[in-house]
Amino acid sequence: MAAPGRMSARIGLGWLFAPPALLFVAFLGVPVGALVWRAAAGGELGDNITSSLVLDSLRLSAITSTVTLAVAVMIGTPLAYLLARRDFPGKVFVDLLLDLPIVLPPTVAGVALLVALGRRGVVGERLDSAGINIAFTTTAVVLAQLFVSAPFYIRTVKAGFESVEPVYEGVASTLGASPLRTFLRVTLPLAWPSLVAGAILCWARALSELGATLIFAGNLQGSTRTMPLAIISAFESGKSIDVPIALSVILVAAAALLLLLLRVLARGAAMRV
């Protein structure tokens, strides 16, 4: 990324635009700062973090979001490649379907999943008679997260594959490389920054998933109560605001770490190319 440089500094507007800019920075910064300050000032952050409510939800969130990411990468990468490189009947429809979870409220996703895979659902009924029950299990948490977060991965990776000029693949094939070798040695490395960005977006979205999980998976400590759900539950119990604060601080720290990682990885990838 190029720095704006001296020329734009000469053009001015700095003094005129600084006040609204600073106002918004404060608007974002003050609540986050307050959260951290309260957590530290309370002095009970350590105790709260080690409570079973927090630990269970932390472990569950870590596991489900990672599994979601793994599944999204495994099924999303081939789909993204096909969307970027091939024309097939119904492609427009698939494209549209992928955008839906991005624009829909997650609660709608939860209802849709329940209608499809719930015990009385279109598919769920048959699964139920085969002895398989998905709704209100940890699997349901993963599916809810996958539904809303995988499209972010697929969108980003599709754009990444599209940015790789097909001529590289053509040349690789004239050099004797099989389609799979071309994909692994040429296309994938060239699209790598997009894969990393997509994975982080997807993971972050999975980690913050709330609405779809609540409806499709419920809110059971240890099996479906992820961190966002635990925050809601702690509020509703009305006991203390300290537990939600502790959970929130952990999520803020995780998010900040992810974003930092994204920057570092993206720069590393740019350096390699």
Binding site: V167, T174, S178
Partner: protein
Amino acid sequence: MLTIDIDRRVGSFHLQPQFDAGNELVVLFGPSGCGKSLTLQAVAGLLRPDRGRIELPGGVVAFDSAARIDLPPQRRSVGYVVQELALFPHMTARQNIEFGLAGWPARRRRDRVAYLVSLLGLEQLEERRPRQMSGGQQQRVALARALAAEPSLLLLDEPFSALEAPLRTMLRREVAALRRRLDLTALFVTHDLGEAYALGDHIVIYDDGCVLQHGPKDDVFRRPRSRRVAELVEVRNIIAGEVVAYAEGVAVVRTPWFTARVADAQAPVSGNVYLCIRPEHIIIVREDRDSRDPGNTVIDTEIIEEVAMGNTHRLFMRAAAPDAGVGEPLIFEVDVPAHPYEVLGIASKREWRIALTAEHVSLVPRE
């Protein structure tokens, strides 16, 4: 022997080239968008013809719609340097060159890379990535990569178009020398007439998806077989006329301005024709000498404009109006090298006689 005879529609464009060539440097020349690059893609196996046949040097049939043969690019043994080079940016020069040697034993692979590095003068650059190299260096790496697996055919798609003129000239010479040394058939695409002339042994003239004419370079440049080819190879002087007599390989052609003798063995022997004369083939007759050769056609002209082009001057010379009087004037374009231009004192005198020699005029049919 390389044989190409294919047919492919791409939207409203119809690609239907037909030519063959031996172990030589074959230049595909024509305006942009005439199908030269698509032909290379078809030969490389990246574009599937609707119909036809492609036989590679060495007798391998790469494509034959009648016999249902369509070898994938991996099995065609064709080295392809694309216009944008497409060096793999995440690999070093060495890794790029090695890419096509995946199946080779490690020792042979190492020797091959070392050979190519010295052949193309890439010492010290092996561990660099493409963006750390100059345009000319990238060019050489792309060539080394294409040559690595010992292809039977080399395809070069305007590989020097992004380079500066002196570097282009040098690389052109290198490519021509390299091809001779490796005794390889090469197809070289260009839309630059100077490049086509400087490089080609054999030239293939493309226009709108078709091959209009192909053959040894000098034949095509000096003996175009149609008006369109004459225009494409910048004959410049294309004059309507009529064959009025023909005997022993010499045609007599009458135009409103002059009557010329033409010794063109392949020319039409009667009917309406165009006379084609290259600007460098027109002679300026010195005042103190008669044009003694009776075979020459001598015409009185007047210089109406001139353009200095560095080492030559292009003169626009209007022929004296014929007795009968025709609407349009006839203006010859004549190239004179800088030295004779000065010796003759052309700058200070406007009226000159020019001469056309029978051997340097060719005829193409006119409808």
